[in-house]
Every structure is written in structure tokens, then in C-alpha cells.
Symmetry: C2
């Protein structure tokens, strides 16, 4: 399959590494042959009619932008032009989330689908703003839109809910869906440090972005709840329907006050028939969703099967790449490229 990658940060680079490293295994087991033919980052693009070499991509990126490659680099070339003009089976859209208008992801995804290219994305902006429209656009053009990595990172939350919970009714869902804030709250509780200090630690450890606002104010969790509601439960939820508070008001003394009772504070997102809420909650440490560090956890309260909880994944390039790879294999199964 010919692949275009748009946005080339931690996840894009980790994905590239896995696709090349596991090349033989993926072909033998799934018939998947991944040919990355174009990559676009902020500095421009790198394009080849045939498969780009791993070393070429890494060397160019190490100079700041993939467009710096002397043979295949196209400084200043924009994503939309690459998506429209280059032949490819799949566009992997990995630009940062923007919940105002979803750009640039929204235009990239729409253009790819309109040009009959399958799309895999981890970008929550377009999914939150226009999931139903985008799925319809994919269907209309006979291609697939996949977004396993948008919720849960490497934890296959969406896939699990759609495929393994059939036949039973999901009464409610609740979970810890943001690795950054979970890391911060865990460090506050473990080391008795302030939120500010824990945030700095998270940034040093690579678990928080330079601007961690969407994590801290709960918007990232709210986006994931909207995607889960609309995709798993067939609702039509907008961000404004969600009651959101983040962790900025959680203090070390709040956490200390309850720790002797075997409790702690976590940023919990929850969905039931009546409302969707993101807020810091006191959880017993015995609660299966009460996980530490960058881990994610989601509990599905089922009508017959009781509570079923999924724990793991969380943040990081390799972990998120495993979700993208799942999508790639599923698309491979539906196509012959």
C-alpha cells in the first residue's frame, strides 16, 4: 500500500520505524506491504514515486524538516497539494488537534477522502467536529476512515467496544482517558509535590506537550468522550454538550486529605444516558479504573455482563503507532493494494 504521512512528530516517526522494522512479519502475517511515498511536515514535503528509504526519511528529519532531502525534498510544499496530486492508498493524518475549526486536519482528511484515499487519523479535532459527515464522505467515495489511535492511545477502546461487546447493552462508560493528567495526579500523590512541579516533571519526561492546556483543562478527555459517544453509542454529541472541568484546581492538600482512606483523585470522564461529564473525582484505589502513571482505563457498565474494564496504553509514539498499525491492517483487508 502506498502511504502518505501528514504531520511528522513523535507518532509519525515511531510509526515509520515500526513499519520498516516489522516489514517481513507484517507481510507474512497480514499481506501488508507499506510503501511510504510521501511525508509532509511544517517545512514542506518529501516525495518519491517509489518507496522512500528509512535512512532517507530519518536523515532528512534530523535536519529539521523532511523537505531538506537533496533528492526528494520539496521545501514549502503543502499537505493539500501532496494529498491531491500524489498517488496513494492511505493518508495517515497526524497533525495536532484543533477544536475550533479542526484545521489543518479537517481539510486534509476531506481532501483525502474526496480523492478516494483511505484515511487513518489520530487527530481529534475533525472527529469531534464532524465525525458523521466524515464517515459519510468516506462511504460515498468508497474508502475507509479509521481512528483507533484517537481514543486510548494504544488501548483499543473503540475497537473493543464495537467488536467485543455486541449483543449486550452498554449502560454507561467511565474512564481515565488522558495520560498526561494521570501522570501529574499520580506524581502529586506519590511524591507529595505540587501540580506545578508534577507538570514540569511530565514535560521533562516527554508526557506533556509545551502547551498542555487541552490536557489540563479536560478538553482532551471531553473530545475522547464525544468520539466514543458518537461512534460507539450512535449519539450526536457536540463538545458544548459536555460539562468539563480539568485538574487545575486539584491541590496537594485535597489529595493528602483522602489518601489515608485508600482513595485518590483522578480526572474521570463519564457517559450515561443523561449526561457527559469530565471532572476530577475521588476514587478508591481498589476501583479497576484507578490506574497510575500514564495509563488509561475505561470501564463499560454492561446490562448483562456487568462491569468490563480495559487498562493500558496511554501516551507515547510507539504505543499510538500500534493503534495506527491496526487500522492499516484492517484497511489492507478491505483493499487489494
Amino acid at each position: 500500500m502506498k502511504i502518505i504521512i501528514i504531520g511528522y512528530g513523535t507518532v509519525g516517526q515511531a510509526l515509520t520505524k515500526i513499519l520498516y522494522e516489522k516489514e517481513k512479519q507484517l507481510f507474512n502475517k497480514y499481506g501488508l506491504r507499506s510503501n511510504i511515498v510521501a511525508v509532509v511536515d511544517r517545512g514542506g514535503a518529501i516525495i518519491s514515486k517509489t518507496r522512500l528509504k528509512y535512512s532517507t526519511l530519518m536523515k532528512a528529519k534530523a535536519s529539521g524538516t523532511v523537505a531538506s532531502d537533496p533528492n526528494f525534498g520539496k521545501p514549502g510544499l503543502k499537505a493539500l497539494q501532496v494529498i491531491e496530486e500524489e498517488a496513494a492508498d492511505v493518508v495517515i493524518e497526524l497533525t495536532p488537534t484543533n477544536i475550533i475549526d479542526g484545521e489543518p486536519g479537517m481539510s486534509n482528511i476531506k481532501s483525502a477522502l474526496t480523492n478516494k484515499k483511505n484515511v487513518i487519523t489520530t487527530n481529534k479535532g475533525p472527529l469531534v467536529l464532524a465525525l458523521i459527515t466524515l464517515i459519510e464522505l468516506a462511504r460515498h467515495n468508497g474508502v475507509h476512515l479509521r481512528f483507533s489511535g484517537a481514543v486510548g492511545g494504544g488501548l483499543p477502546v473503540l475497537n473493543f467496544a464495537k467488536k467485543s461487546l455486541i449483543g449486550d447493552r452498554i449502560i454507561s462508560i467511565k474512564g481515565i482517558l488522558n495520560g498526561t493528567t494521570n501522570y501529574i495526579l499520580t506524581r502529586m500523590a506519590e511524591a507529595h509535590i505540587s501540580l506545578e512541579t508534577a507538570l514540569k516533571e511530565a514535560q521533562l519526561a516527554g508526557y506533556a506537550e509545551a502547551d498542555p492546556s487541552y490536557d489540563l483543562n479536560g478538553v482532551d478527555t471531553a473530545c475522547k468522550l464525544a468520539i466514543m459517544s458518537n461512534w460507539i453509542l450512535d449519539k450526536n454529541v457536540k463538545l458544548k454538550d459536555i460539562n468539563v472541568s480539568g485538574i487545575l484546581d486539584v491541590t496537594l492538600s485535597n489529595i493528602k486529605k483522602i489518601e489515608k482512606k485508600g482513595q485518590t483523585i483522578k480526572l474521570v470522564g463519564s457517559i450515561d444516558d443523561e449526561k457527559i461529564v469530565v471532572k476530577p473525582q475521588t476514587l478508591s484505589k481498589n476501583n479497576p479504573i484507578c490506574v497510575d502513571g500514564v495509563l488509561n482505563a475505561v470501564a463499560f457498565n454492561m446490562e448483562s455482563a456487568g462491569e468490563i474494564t480495559l487498562v493500558g496504553g496511554g501516551a507515547g509514539g510507539v504505543v499510538t503507532s500500534s493503534a495506527i498499525l491496526r487500522d492499516l491492517i484492517e484497511i489492507r483487508r478491505y483493499t487489494n493494494s
Copy 2:
């Protein structure tokens, strides 16, 4: 779909209730119309050319055997004869596990598949002794063999591993797979009671059978590990390849000794490239698989995605029925009956 149920204990009756209660919902959502046309228990059979009524089934069973029904009852009629002679799309085989020769489940399942009837079972005996042969027999006859409820009860362990973990390699698996022993160990730790007392409690609560040997000696967990190895990891493991010890040697003083360190003892089953083991292990209470009561938990250690844990389900008729229902819906998708 015309359904024959063989073995009519807690699970069979709970399944019947769900199929009738959710009738409309299952038809609207999945196109599933379940017509139970025969049920067999130790006393004989109840058979009708058309759908049996819920009240008929329950009334007959309340008299000791379904064969007691004055109109449709066939006292003494054997499962094999019903499977061979009655028209049906699916045989749901729920007789008790026997790891010596798998009977009577083995013959029931083979006969159903040979007679081109789809099979759903929760009976671990035939699966442990002959999984590969049975799958081959199903394929040869153009029908399906499903067994979601055999591992994890209502926790969709097998389905999850096959469908949601593609693209990544499972390095190892470990988990708590037996609800009865987990209930006993939990009660010992919580209430500081002996194993014998906790076992009696489990029996009173309906969590342990009159003969709980397979639970206590670890064989039930070993069966589940064998099924997971052979089905998820494409191995060819026999029970004798598994190193099994149960919980009979776990004492209250063992548990008390480590509780202050935030640890407890659980019956853990584990699979890696080198060996498959069932034995009581000391776990930290923070470990995501360290769950209490009748809960099950399974952790998959993935090459890229890290550790992914599934918690929930466990024992009980309703919970196991939800797994059978999943199988029924999947079979419905492949057939037009």
C-alpha cells in the same frame, strides 16, 4: 434461527431468559430471531417443530426435567438422538467439563458439526482435548464452532485477543481466570477466615459447585490457558504440558504475612514462549490483574502497546449468557437462518 440447547443448568436457563426478554431488541439490532426448538437435560428432552414457549420451558424444568412437559416432553431421550434427528441451525452445548475424554460434550459437538449444525459451547473438555480437530470438522462441514464463554465467562478475552490486538505481537499473557478460587482467596484476605470456611461461603453464595475440585486444584485455569494458547497463539498445548498447582496449600497465615506490604495471594495462570504455569502467586494490590471477588483479569504483554489488561466478567449464568449471545449474533451474521 432454530436452536437446540444441551445441558440445562444455570447458564442454559439464564440464556433462555435473556433470549426471550431481549427478543425485540435482538431482532431489531442484529436480525436475530432465536427459536428454541429443543432442550435436553439429564431427564430427557423437550422438542417442538416450532418455537417452545418460555413458560413451557420454565414450568417443565421446575418439575425437575424439561422432559416432564405433558405435550412436548420425551423422558429418557438422549442428546445425540436429538442432535441427529431434529432440524436446527445451532446446537448450544452446555454439559459439564470432563477433561478425561471430554464426554458427553465431545460426542455432542462432533455429532452436531457432522450434521452441519453450528455449535456454541462453554464446555472446556472437548476444547482442551481436541480444539484443532473440532475447528477442522466445523470448517469441513461449512459450519461454525464458537466458545466465547469458555474463557473469562462474560469477559470477552478470546474475542478481544483475536480482533483488537492485531498488528502487534503478544509476548506473554497472565491472568486470574477462575472466579471461584478468586472469591475464596479474596474472602480469606478480607475476613481473615480459613480456606475451608471461605469455600463454604462460596458454595452458599452459588460461586462454587458441589464438587469444586477443578477450581481448587487449578485444572480449570489450566484448561483456559490451553484454549488461549491454542486459539490465540496458534500453539498445540496439551494439559500435561502445563505445570499446575492449585490453592489448596494456601493458608491464612501466608496471606496475613504479606498483607502489610500491600500484597496478596492470587491463583495466576501465565503463558510465555517457554512455559505455561498455574500457581498461587504474591501480587501487589496495585497490579492491574489483582482483582477481587469473582472477577477475572487478563493482562496481555504486547511488543509495541505495552501491557493491556481486561477486567470483569467471571462466573454466573447471566454473565456467561452474554458470551453465548455474542457467539449467536456472530453466527447469525454468517448465515441467513
